[in-house]
């Protein structure tokens, strides 16, 4: 599972840098320890050198020797590790202690070696091993000699290795512990994600209204859950819309089909005159026409939904469009003796696909004509509002109660099926809404029951061409 992968990765992400930090820490500590031990050893070597000075004497044969008895008093056991060499001013070796044997600590005295109280340096003995060397000039019974005391650096390295070994031995355990804790912590942090995944898995088209739990709305996972829920909400909404649309559409399609069937069946039941048969067939064809129109409209809308309609926007003045729509519907207006007033408050041009927009305006105006009672009035105004070209059509119909206002643009929606008495499916306003929105405009209505309603269309305004 991916989550396990994330957990492992998270664990790795903090174990790896931590291991790096530990390695760096060990390096620094080792360097410091080395430096420190070096200093201590140098210090001891100097003390030892002073001790040695007191113990040296010239033997009768002119050679130098060391009073050995003092060794028993030494408190520093490492004095036994001491390498000692005494040289004459000409570089002749006057004394080598037992531990040194036949080796030399370093070659002949270097210029200026031991001139100041002590000189100290790392040196390489004749057998190649590295030593820490402290040397000093001394007047032994009146004769000048160079005393060299050295300790093998192995001493330091051994100590360092031991310490490091212990630390390194513990390291894997520490890292393992860190990894383990890290993994557990990652698991705990990711647990809500896994829970969300499980919940999300159970959500399908049947229970789209389920939501993910939001434990803490302020943290990242909370954001994720909230976003996810919002997405679910939107999907649920369009799903619901689609479901309603499908059921409405099949209902609308079924109505003419049922009529065709009944008319046909009844027509066949008895012998009738050719005129009666003509009438029957004509009646069936009327329903077929209705069905055809419905399918055409549905097709237009579904193409619009799929974004398959290519718009051809142009700049045009709005008022002529309104006049065109009104003149197209003129006979309907006359038939109902409506008073129609078209007002252009100022010349406004819009950028849109004129053909689709004309359809929208015709549909909205037709709607107004349909619902305004005989002798009523319709007033349409064209004006500019900020960057919008606005077209508002007010009718003196029964108005639309607020609870219906937001739904009149829905497909097949009818405010009052019984009262409208219209056979046409409620698609006109849906198509108008699509046409307006596709042209980056907005459509809406203002209404109060009993007081008519005003449909408005807003379109992106454009500068009118001089010739227009």
């Amino acid at each position: 599972m991916i989550l396990r992968g994330v957990r492992a990765r998270l664990t790795l992400w903090y174990v790896a840098p931590l291991a790096g930090v530990i390695a760096l820490y060990l390096t620094v500590v080792s360097a410091l320890a080395f430096w420190q031990m070096n200093r201590v050893l140098t210090h001891l070597a100097k003390e030892d050198l002073e001790t040695v000075k007191g113990l040296l004497y010239f033997r009768a044969d002119g050679r130098v020797d060391l009073h050995q008895e003092y060794h028993h008093h030494t408190e520093w056991r490492q004095a036994q590790e001491r390498l000692l060499e005494v040289l004459g001013p000409d570089g002749r070796i006057l004394y080598r202690n037992e531990r040194l044997g036949a080796r030399t600590i370093d070659g002949p005295p270097m210029p200026g070696e031991g001139d100041r109280v002590y000189s100290e340096r790392s040196a390489q003995m004749s057998d190649g091993s590295a030593v820490l060397l402290v040397s000093s000039r001394y007047e032994l019974q009146g004769a000048p000699v160079l005393i060299r005391v050295a300790y093998s650096e192995d001493l330091i390295w051994r100590r360092l290795r031991e310490t490091l070994a212990i630390l390194l031995l513990a390291l894997p355990f520490a890292l393992a512990a860190i990894a383990f804790i890290g993994y557990k912590m990652a698991a705990r942090a990711l647990d809500p994600v896994e829970q969300m995944a499980r919940r999300a898995q159970q959500i399908n088209s049947e229970n789209l209204d389920e939501r993910l739990p939001v434990e803490n709305p302020d943290d990242e996972l909370g954001h994720l859950a909230i976003e996810f829920n919002a997405t679910l909400g939107r999907i649920g909404q369009s799903f619901e819309q689609l479901r309603r649309f499908t059921s409405d559409a099949s209902h609308e399609l079924r109505t003419p089909l049922a009529a065709i069937r009944s008319i046909g069946e009844v027509g066949l039941q008895q012998d009738a005159s050719p005129e009666a048969y003509r009438d029957t067939i004509g009646s069936m064809l009327e329903e077929v026409n209705r069905l055809t129109g419905l399918v055409d409209n549905l097709l237009t809308l579904s193409r619009a939904d799929a974004g398959h309609i290519a718009l051809q926007p142009s700049v045009f003045p709005v008022m002529p469009l309104l006049r065109e729509a009104a003149s197209l519907l003129e006979v309907l207006i006359e038939d109902k003796s409506l008073r129609v007033e078209l007002v252009e408050e100022e010349e406004v041009c819009a950028l849109a696909d004129r053909l689709y927009l004309r359809q929208a305006v015709v549909n909205v105006l037709h709607n107004a004509v349909k619902f305004t009672p005989v002798g009523g009035a319709i007033s349409a105004r064209v004006y500019r509002e900020a960057n919008w070209a606005v077209l508002a059509i007010r009718d003196s119909g029964p108005g639309i109660p607020p609870q219906h206002a937001s739904r009149v643009f829905e497909r097949f929606y009818r405010v009052d099926e019984a009262r409208s008495g219209e056979k046409a499916a409620g698609l006109g306003l849906s198509i108008a809404q699509w046409a307006v929105r596709a042209n980056k405009g907005e459509i809406g209505l203002i209404s109060a029951a009993g007081d008519g309603c005003t449909f408005w269309i807003r379109l992106p305004a454009a500068r009118c061409r001089a010739a227009a």
Binding site: E286, N289, V331, L332
Partner: protein, 227 residues
Amino acid sequence: MRVLVVEDEDKMAEALRHGLETDHYSVSVAHTGEEAFYLVSTETYDLVILDWLLPGRDGIEVLTRLRQRGVSVPVLLVTARDATEDRVRGLDAGADDYLVKPFAFPELLARIRALLRRGVAETSDRLTVADLEMDVAAHKVKRAGKELALTAREFDLLEYLLRQPGRVVSREMLARDVWKENARYTPLDNVIDVHVARLRRKLDDHCEKKLLRTVRGVGFVLGEDAA
């Protein structure tokens, strides 16, 4: 006039054959693209009504091959596909006209007539049916010698009907040819109905003999035998 109907659906093919024969065309029917190709290659037709969707070789393919072989018979492409791209494709393939299913039969007849007389301009200025006379140039209409006062739209409508006397004219045809609208829609249908009703009032109300008749579910017809 010999017409070949290429249509795979039997009912549709039969209806077309019957309807066209009633209108005095002699009709052959092909059910597949291959059959159509064979028939067009071996016989002469004045017009082919070609369905786009056919089993095997489809209408467009048949049409393309026919045009490649230099067959120039007028072809009316009939299809349920009504997207603009489809129309363009159809016309590009060499169709002379394009009709979307479901269509009104009078519309099909009108298109066929238009294709068959293509190139022959019809410019008669005086149209008469029974005692109705129209002088197109002078923009005058008389019924039984009495001049009728018609609006511009009513005049156009009547002229359109007069040019096809005795033939049924559908609302689609009126929407396209008289109102010059590219599609038929509900408000427009209402408008057409009202105009026709008004025209009928002016034309027939004061006369014994009714000339303008509604054919229910199909359209309108102007003719002497109107009941």
